[in-house]
């Protein structure tokens, strides 16, 4: 049996693929329950308005309509609002403003898409027709979408009870030390930049089905979630006041998440509550246009970055001021994103001795903003890596040498940054060197000249980054404001004949956990890959785990599996010692076999499992029957993937269109279990990063209307917008988890956007361009080229 080939390091083809390529995936909208009704939500088309009244009469009388509910109908049940899972304190020690977030709007609507009423009917078409008959009386109020407008004097206030639009005004780092460094610096470089608002746009829109069993009093929620236990806790304990044993949450196959399906959304509580009222299942499925105005958005920062340097280009201090858009309400993890997932990463891969960052989070009349693939780290990386090239531009330093000079050296780990984090491992010179070699950096001038001969502007851009995954330990994140623990759980059930089922608290929505985790367990227990199955996504099956986000599943969830397997092996050794009449200390376990050291006596794990479940000859006074172990793993630290992305573009000066012609990523994600899956994760992340850099933007007009509200207006990357993405890995092991793994889900989206923009700016270097904000659209670039051409003609 070729066990090694299936184990850690093998590109095993995915177990989950057979059902997906045959159309037998089991997504939430594929589920239909007996007697099911359909919910359609009428949403505000106003960005900001007083809600004066809702006339439901015509809608209630429409064919097929079973019920129409507004906030007034829910109020008697004293339900909670949608809770926020992270509390930040401002500089002055005061807690962040945490305005009420009702399931259905009351008093005011605060963004386009704010849910106002729900119509329940026998068919979806009937509910849709009836929802149009609701008459809603609004009194429009002035509205704001941009963060700069939110803090302007006299700005309209989103939440009247707060009195301003400030959610919190937070800082990190040593301000005095940074100010002193700026005072003595030989040179300083300043850059103003924005990080564009994005819509995550998983291909499956959100869907939720609530069900109530009047006989048992049990509720079930089927939902498109990355973390069913988190939803059960938030919705059960804080919103609907249902105890856990009466509430089951199932997240079956989920068609992509990228962060947007972490959060507890109003629709989940709404269908569950409606099912209880009507004693029939209630299903809601978002249209894509509805998703644009109700799924949490990502990014949306406006920042100023300043670096102080000595004469030879060594960094002395970094100062950053950021305004972050929270949207109209606080989504589940929103306050953590521009703080502990962003500002703590501002040291980057550099040994800058002092860093000070201020983050002002504000409310606006927009869809709530929360974590989207990378969550804070892409914003930090874009700021730093654009600043690197601007420093090179302004001071004349070579952009590669500037980075090298300031890298944290490979022998400096563990490395304590000035902004709270301690990086455990990394080797930034090596990932840089490999990326430079893979893209043939030194030959670029010839490629640029060749492109110029074809009338094209060719540029190359580099980004060297570090990020943080598997946020932990729970005690620390609690001190930082998390209202939850961030451990993970695994239950390893060895069946009587030696096959294994793994129950994990993480959730797979494209990452291939059924494959990677099966490989990990098969490898460690020395059994065939085919004999391991992975179960996730149902709170009635899996123990209480925290789900999947922040590239945590392998680093935290996989580590929990190792801990559970350690218990399996320890127990197996006791059983083996009994069967082979040896001392436990003499039992060794390798390749699926328990053997007595120095003898040829051995028992397979299957034999041990059978003995554990048929304990006729068994050390029953010492250990219990069965071979089924659970472990909770609370990490000691974050993990710190890092690496280098290099992008090469060609711009057509006639049209301003940018083509990405080469893209190289060399990432250090720690130990790799399945190289094929890691490569796919990086490619997908890079595609989203290129999308952010060149194509994507959620645009609000100055009245806070969402202008890019469908796939007709929001530019999703298509196959012919993207290049082949060459992925390489270089490994330094994580030093504090048992597998040495770091996480690969977000590196692509974190490392790539500045590489693309640096390449675009490089391509336009003859036009005097210092910085371009994302997305670098053809219109923007054409305007730069055209203005430059006019200037040249005038000279």
């Amino acid at each position: 049996m070729n066990v090694m080939f299936e184990g850690i390091g093998a590109s095993m083809r995915r177990k989950e693929d057979l059902r997906f390529i045959n159309g037998h995936g089991h997504y939430t909208d594929d589920i239909n329950r007996p007697g099911q009704l359909y919910a359609i939500i009428r949403r505000s088309d106003r960005p900001h308005a007083k809600l004066l009244g809702i006339d439901t009469k015509a809608a209630k009388a429409a064919p097929g309509v079973i019920a129409v509910y507004t906030h007034a109908d829910m109020a008697p049940d004293n339900l909670g609002g949608i809770p926020c899972g992270w509390q930040i304190h401002s500089k002055d020690g005061s807690p962040m403003a945490e305005p009420a977030h009702p399931i259905l709007a009351t008093g005011k609507v605060r963004h386009v898409g704010d849910p106002v009423a729900v119509v329940i009917a026998e068919t979806r078409a009937q509910a849709k027709t009836a929802a149009e008959l609701l008459e809603i009386d609004y009194e429009d109020l002035p509205a704001i979408a941009a963060v700069t407008d939110a803090i302007a004097p006299g700005a309209p206030v989103v939440h009247d009870e707060i009195g301003s639009n400030t959610c919190f005004d937070w800082h990190i780092g040593d301000k005095d030390m940074v100010d002193a460094a700026f005072a003595r610096a030989a040179q300083t470089v300043k850059l103003d930049l924005t990080n564009n608002r994005l819509v995550p746009n998983a291909m499956e829109t959100r869907c939720a089905i609530g069900e109530y069993d009047a006989m048992s009093g049990d509720y079930t929620l089927y939902t498109t979630s990355q973390n069913p236990h988190v939803i059960r806790l938030l919705m059960g304990a804080f919103v609907l006041h249902l105890p856990e044993h009466r509430l089951r949450v199932v997240a079956p196959d989920v068609g992509g998440g990228f962060g947007s399906k972490i959060y507890h959304y109003a629709e989940e509580a709404l269908v569950t509550w409606c099912a209880g009222k009507l004693k029939r299942p209630v299903k809601w499925t978002a249209d894509r246009s509805e998703a644009f105005m109700s799924d949490a958005h990502g990014r949306d920062h406006v920042s100023t970055a300043e670096m102080a340097l000595d004469a030879d280009g060594t960094f002395l201090a970094l100062r950053v001021a950021t305004i972050a858009n929270m949207g109209a309400y606080l989504s589940t993890f929103a306050p953590a994103v521009p703080t502990y997932l962003y500002a703590t990463l501002l040291a980057g891969v550099y040994k800058t001795p002092a860093v000070y960052a201020e983050v002002h989070a504000v409310f606006t009349n927009t869809v709530p903003v929360d974590a989207y693939r990378g969550a804070g780290r892409p914003e930090a990386t874009f700021l730093l890596e654009r600043l690197m090239d601007v420093i090179a531009h302004d001071t004349g330093h070579d952009r590669v040498e500037l980075r090298r000079r300031n890298f944290i050296p490979a022998d400096a780990f563990p490395y304590q940054t000035p902004v709270a984090l301690q990086y455990d491992s990394g080797d930034y010179q090596t990932t840089l060197n490999k990326a430079l070699a893979n893209i043939a950096w030194d030959d670029f001038p010839a490629r640029r000249a060749e492109a110029a001969g074809r009338g094209k502007l060719r540029g190359i851009g580099i980004s060297t980054y570090v990020e943080a995954c598997g946020i932990a330990p729970s005690k620390l994140v609690g001190q930082l404001g998390a209202r939850a623990g961030l451990y993970e759980v695994a239950n390893i059930r060895v069946h009587p004949t030696g096959s294994v089922t793994v129950f994990t608290g993480t959730h797979s929505h494209g990452q291939g956990h059924e494959t990677t985790f099966a490989q990990l367990v098969a490898d460690q227990l020395g059994i065939p890959f085919a004999n391991v199955d992975v179960v996730h996504g149902d709170t009635n099956k899996i123990p209480f785990g925290m789900g999947t986000y922040g590239s945590r599943s392998l680093a935290v969830g996989g580590s929990a599996m190792v801990k559970a397997m350690d218990k399996i092996i320890a127990k197996g050794k006791k059983i083996a010692a009994h069967l082979m009449e040896a001392s436990v200390e003499d039992i060794e376990f390798a390749n699926g076999e328990f053997s007595v050291a120095g003898t040829d006596k051995k028992k397979t794990i299957g034999e041990i499992a059978l003995t554990a479940y048929v304990p006729h000859n068994y050390p029953i006074d010492e250990i219990e029957p069965g071979l089924d172990e659970t472990a909770f793993y609370d990490p000691k630290n974050f993990t710190f993937p890092g690496g280098c992305h290099i992008c090469e573009v060609e711009i057509d000066p006639e049209t301003g269109v940018t083509s990405v012609v080469n893209f190289v990523a060399v990432d250090d994600v720690g130990r790799v279990i399945n190289p094929m899956i890691v490569e796919g994760q990086v490619q997908g992340g890079v595609a989203q990063g290129i999308g952010q850099a060149l194509l994507e933007a959620a645009i609000y007009d100055d009245q806070a209307q969402l202008v890019s509200g469908s796939f007709m207006d929001y530019t999703m990357p298509r196959a012919d917008d993207l290049p082949n993405i060459l992925v390489g890995t270089e490994t330094t092991l994580c030093t504090h988890n048992p597998l040495g793994v770091k996480g690969c889900g977000e590196v692509g989206a974190i490392g790539s956007p500045p590489a693309v923009i640096n390449a675009v700016v490089d391509a336009l270097r003859d036009y005097g361009v210092r910085h371009i904000d994302m997305p670098a659209s053809p219109q923007k670039i054409w305007a730069i080229i055209n203005a430059g051409a006019q200037k040249m003609a005038a000279e």
Partner: protein, 164 residues
């Protein structure tokens, strides 16, 4: 209520539908063929692509009544009765051309039409252009393009010579 008679995956069905029913709604809701997905409401994403009389069609853009008399093939009908995969399905699995699987049925159906309608060969640029009507948010398309190039010779029974 109009009724529609059509063949889906080799099996004949007569179904009563509302006039406004879309073909994708008929497939998913009346015939419980949930492999065909809906990913948008503007005919942009291609998650709903099926074959109607041998040609790829976005089934969210066709009324069920327009499919009266038609022969429809969905993702569920692609593999042989004994489970043998279509070469395109096999290529998608082999080349890791799917992650969450949601766009996959439409992507596979589009890819088959793309390969069959290019008997003279397919360049990488033509594959990328041919996928313009299908969105994938997970893979960055890299492996989808590879899978389609790998399926071409199997489907045509000869080597794919890149005719740039």
């Amino acid at each position: 209520m109009p009724h529609v008679t059509l063949t889906v995956n080799g099996k004949s069905h007569t179904v009563d539908v509302e006039a406004r029913t879309l073909l994708v709604e008929l497939l998913r809701e009346k015939l419980a063929l949930t492999g065909t997905h809906v990913g948008c409401d503007t005919s942009q994403c291609g998650a709903c692509v099926v074959h109607v009389d041998g040609t790829s069609v976005k089934s969210c853009t066709m009324l069920a009544v327009q499919a009266d008399g038609a022969d429809v093939l969905t993702i569920e009908g692609l593999a042989a009765a004994d489970g043998t995969l279509h070469p395109m399905q096999e290529a998608f699995r082999e080349h890791h051309a799917l992650q969450c699987g949601f766009c996959t049925p439409g992507m596979v159906m589009s890819a088959i039409d793309l390969v069959m309608s290019h008997p003279q060969g397919l360049t990488e640029a033509e594959i990328r252009h041919g996928l313009e009507g299908n969105l994938c948010r997970c893979t960055g398309y890299h492996n989808i393009v590879k899978a389609i190039a790998a399926a071409w010779p199997v489907m045509h029974g000869r080597e794919l010579v890149a005719a740039e």
